[in-house]
Symmetry: C2
DNA sequence: CTAATTCCTAAACCTAACTTGAGGTCAAGT
DNA sequence: ACTTGACCTCAAGTTAGGTTTAGGAATTAG
């Protein structure tokens, strides 16, 4: 198999673990671009395996198709993407990832102290939502999400 | 406001930051139970603020409505949930959370070494997908997802 | 050459988690 | 009493990310 060989959609599906229909969908969503052969069938470059791997990974990270397309579009049009290009993408991903992890850790750490103690069960947990004062700050379960009462300044 | 007071759906919405329609939806999905007044309007207990906060938090964690309902149903029917009840719920949540965090961290750590170096850009990155040998292992972007080549046994 | 695969498009369908709209009722203030 | 705003139900619509189906055309194996 020469590097000039093109892959059919079925082959690409096998290599990426995606379904054929998903790849067509990604094509329609402009995440990949396919050449067409004489008979109108899609032909993909081998580098599309990596491109689709990237798509799958980003989905794991919680990125939407739109966001992934945006990331991919920062790649250069004509030329081969270089280290700097990927580093650029990598930076925004790390950012997103770090904040996701931070949120989860914050939630987890509060979980033991707050849900674990039975806060949510009844009327009088000072820690979770003292005297219902939380309402003054607006809506939502603020304390568990990082906007904690002064008490627990740890 | 006495502890015996009940909240209207609008008041509950204000206190939780949820929309009225979302609360009706959760009611229909049996995440909360509403009493009805003489005129047929929903009346909620103040503890439902916490219940809905819990729902919102669990959604942040990536739990589906079905999963949240299951968690809530482990709470006792007649009696007030106690420490042990919540600790029980807390345990399954931590489990879920820890693995979520672990996955994200693994992905993040591989990101710098792998995407950051330009692996996805072209043909010859031994680390990412040496000689395309990855195909033997089945589908998907395995290496970045934890199934790394022997090289990097760190 | 023929049969079995694979591929094509377009349109419909699917699930989750809600929102919106229509048509009507209830509650609160004056 | 009246008006306004909050509520009610039920059905349909919405978005994301695909899958399924129908009816054909192209490719590949023998």
């Amino acid at each position: 198999m020469k590097p000039t060989d093109r892959l059919s959609i079925g082959q690409l599906a096998e290599r990426t673990g995606l379904s054929v229909s998903a790849i067509r969908y990604y094509d329609a969503q402009d995440l990949i671009e396919a050449e067409r052969n004489a008979g109108g069938q899609r032909r993909f470059m081998r580098s599309d395996i990596r491109r689709l791997s990237f798509v799958q990974i980003m989905q794991q990270f919680g990125f939407s198709i739109d966001e992934i397309r945006a990331l991919l579009q920062t790649l250069p049009e004509g030329r081969t993407p270089n280290k700097a290009d990927w580093r650029q993408i990598s930076r925004s991903i790390r950012h997103h990832l770090d904040s996701q992890i931070e949120t989860l850790e914050k939630l987890r750490d509060n979980l033991d102290g707050c849900i674990g103690c039975g806060c949510l069960s009844l009327r009088n947990c000072e820690l979770y939502n003292p005297q219902d004062r939380a309402q003054k700050k607006g809506a939502g379960p603020r304390y568990l999400l990082g906007d904690k009462p002064a008490l627990e300044t740890r």
